[in-house]
């Protein structure tokens, strides 16, 4: 993109400052009200108790955090969320890359193929999960119909703690890969064909070209997608509602889903606040990592 140029309006100083601030005011009222201030009050609430019936809220110090450290469900959902991220992010990025490479080639029926890859992205997650719930149904769901055709027995993907999270991950990958493909497609279009041509003239095979030319040029896109995917892994829980409700025994529950349950089913808002603080801290770590270890240009361009 174009590097920032010196802004035109340098004078008169005071007046255009006020202009700028006025222009920013409406957006910042909403940004502060629904993002920054709630983030701070979450921190404050996490040090207090939940008001209940006739018992008002009081200062609790670190009680909520002590409860959190000794809460096995918290550690379980945190672990689940990390596995969920590890399980979905590299896979969907890899699939997205393969999809993009295929679709950017001349391919018979390219329109259909691209549509097939991208369609899941357009559907609401809640609808996607309903469709998949039906496929996973033991005995007569699509999976068991297909595997039964080949002589396998019934499966109970969502009903077993060993596979429930995997079942949820598959749905996530199915929905997200096509979305990430789009970013790769866009990036592929910006690679000058002359570069590839030059490499080919020098005798490089397709794999070498990909490894030495295409992939390095796609690196910024990969990082961008990666950050996006991590945020999504902690934010997207719609499918948990439909597929498993976090079960069996919290085997497929994720951090935000646990926050939802704690706050809106158990009405323990202070404990939910301390859980939210953990989530915010994780995202802050991510932001710092991005800031220190990755090239800033990659993201802000």
């Amino acid at each position: 993109m174009v590097p920032p140029r010196p802004p035109i309006k340098e004078r008169p100083m005071q007046r255009h400052w006020i202009h700028a601030w006025l222009l920013l005011t409406p957006a910042f009222v909403f940004l502060l009200a629904f993002t920054h201030i709630p983030a701070l009050t979450t921190l404050w609430q996490s040090f207090r108790t939940t008001p209940r019936g006739r018992r008002p809220s009081r200062w609790a110090g670190l009680e909520n955090y002590q409860e959190l450290i000794s809460d096995p469900i918290f550690w379980k959902v945190l672990g689940n969320n990390i596995w969920f991220a590890i399980g979905t992010i590299p896979t969907s990025i890899l699939i997205a890359l393969v999809m993009a490479l295929w679709v950017s080639e001349r391919l018979p029926g390219r329109g259909f193929v691209r549509m097939a890859y991208f369609t899941p992205t357009v559907l609401p997650m809640i609808a996607v999960a309903n469709i998949w719930l039906f496929f996973y149904t033991p005995g007569f769901g699509l999976f068991d119909q297909i595997t039964g055709f080949f002589g396998f027995g019934q499966s109970n993907v969502l009903g077993s703690p060993k596979t429930a999270l995997v079942g949820v991950m598959v749905v996530t990958i199915w929905k997200e890969a096509g979305f990430f493909m789009i970013f790769y497609l866009a990036a592929l279009q910006t690679i000058p064909p002359s570069l590839i041509e030059a490499a080919r003239i020098e005798g490089a095979g397709p794999w070498t070209i990909f490894r030495r030319v295409t992939f390095p040029l796609l690196m910024p896109t990969t990082l961008f997608i990666g950050v996006n995917a991590v945020v999504n892994a902690f934010r997207m829980i719609d499918h948990i509602f439909v597929l498993t409700g976090g079960g069996p025994d919290n085997a497929s529950s994720l951090l935000l889903y646990y926050i939802y349950e704690t706050a809106f089913r158990f009405w323990d808002t202070s404990y939910a606040a301390s859980l939210t603080v953990v989530l915010l801290a994780l995202l802050a770590l991510l932001a710092l990592g991005q800031f220190f270890f990755l090239d800033r240009k990659v993201h802000y361009k």
Partner: protein
């Protein structure tokens, strides 16, 4: 050889990818008795759609969603344009700090702050209103960022010419910058509409009634009846709720994909 492999691979993956949706569509158009056993010659029926449509007020849900995405889109366009213009064309104290605050929202989305945002909405007395669903999303860090990048790429000469003609700052924004950024608006608009059409968690928390519930929440409530579920009817409802977006996508596939790409590369 490699090419043949590629083509086969690409098609295999496409078929696997399209299979779940295709089967959902198939069951939705056939009687419930066939949902558990595929039969190419099963009779086609629209009854599942009729049943789903009757069983829950989907028409109202659609209206709610439509109002919701429209309100959000208009709000986002206005607020993000003003803010992006300030960031792109003014130099003022606090600019970098404020811009950093905008970028924070790319990571810390309102979706995560459900507990405190719920309290704020209750404080405002707006629980169970469409406005309440929209408010946290009206100012979008992503939108501000995207438009700022676009505005930065507008040639300086155009603005100078407009200044010579005596246009005001706001006039320049509306007559010079906004028209040049139209493709970005389209791209951002499509991303925003599809995002908020599909949003679920926040509306689930903040709505209580038929009059405010968007389709996603309506679908979930419809599908979670405690007695035996009829998959064909639920699949029909599922397709209905995603139908408008799906049809729009199939009709304007090229524009859609390009919009997402445009939103992506920035």
């Amino acid at each position: 050889m490699t090419r043949a492999l590629n083509i086969t691979g690409a098609w295999m993956l496409a078929l696997i990818w399209v299979l779940p949706l295709a089967y959902a569509i198939w069951t939705a158009f056939h009687p419930a008795a066939y949902e558990a056993r595929f039969d190419l010659f099963a009779p086609v029926t629209f009854e599942n759609f009729a049943k789903a449509w009757e069983a829950a007020p989907f028409a109202r849900y659609f209206l709610n969603t439509f109002v919701l995405v429209t309100v959000i889109l208009i709000g986002q366009f206005i607020l993000c344009t003003l803010a992006a213009y300030a960031f792109a064309r003014y130099r003022f104290p606090g600019r970098d700090v404020l811009f950093a605050l905008v970028l924070v929202q790319l990571l810390v989305m309102p979706d995560i702050l459900i507990v405190e945002n719920y309290k704020s909405i209750r404080y405002l007395g707006l629980v169970d209103t469409i406005a309440a669903i929209a408010l946290p999303y009206i100012a979008s860090g992503f939108g501000i960022f995207l438009l700022r990048q676009t505005f930065l790429s507008v040639p300086k000469e155009l603005e100078e010419a407009a200044q010579i003609e005596g246009m005001s700052s706001l006039g320049i924004m509306l007559k010079v910058y906004v028209p040049l950024a139209l493709p970005t608006y389209l791209a951002y608009g499509l991303v925003s509409v599809s995002h908020h059409w599909n949003n679920f968690l926040w509306p689930l928390i903040i709505t209580n009634s038929v009059e405010t519930r968007p389709v996603t929440v309506g679908l979930q409530i419809f599908a979670s009846i405690d007695s035996g579920v009829e998959w064909s009817v639920i699949n029909a409802a599922t397709l209905m709720t995603s139908g408008p977006l799906l049809i729009a996508f199939l009709l304007f596939q090229r524009q859609f994909v390009q919009s997402f790409m445009r939103a992506g590369i920035k």
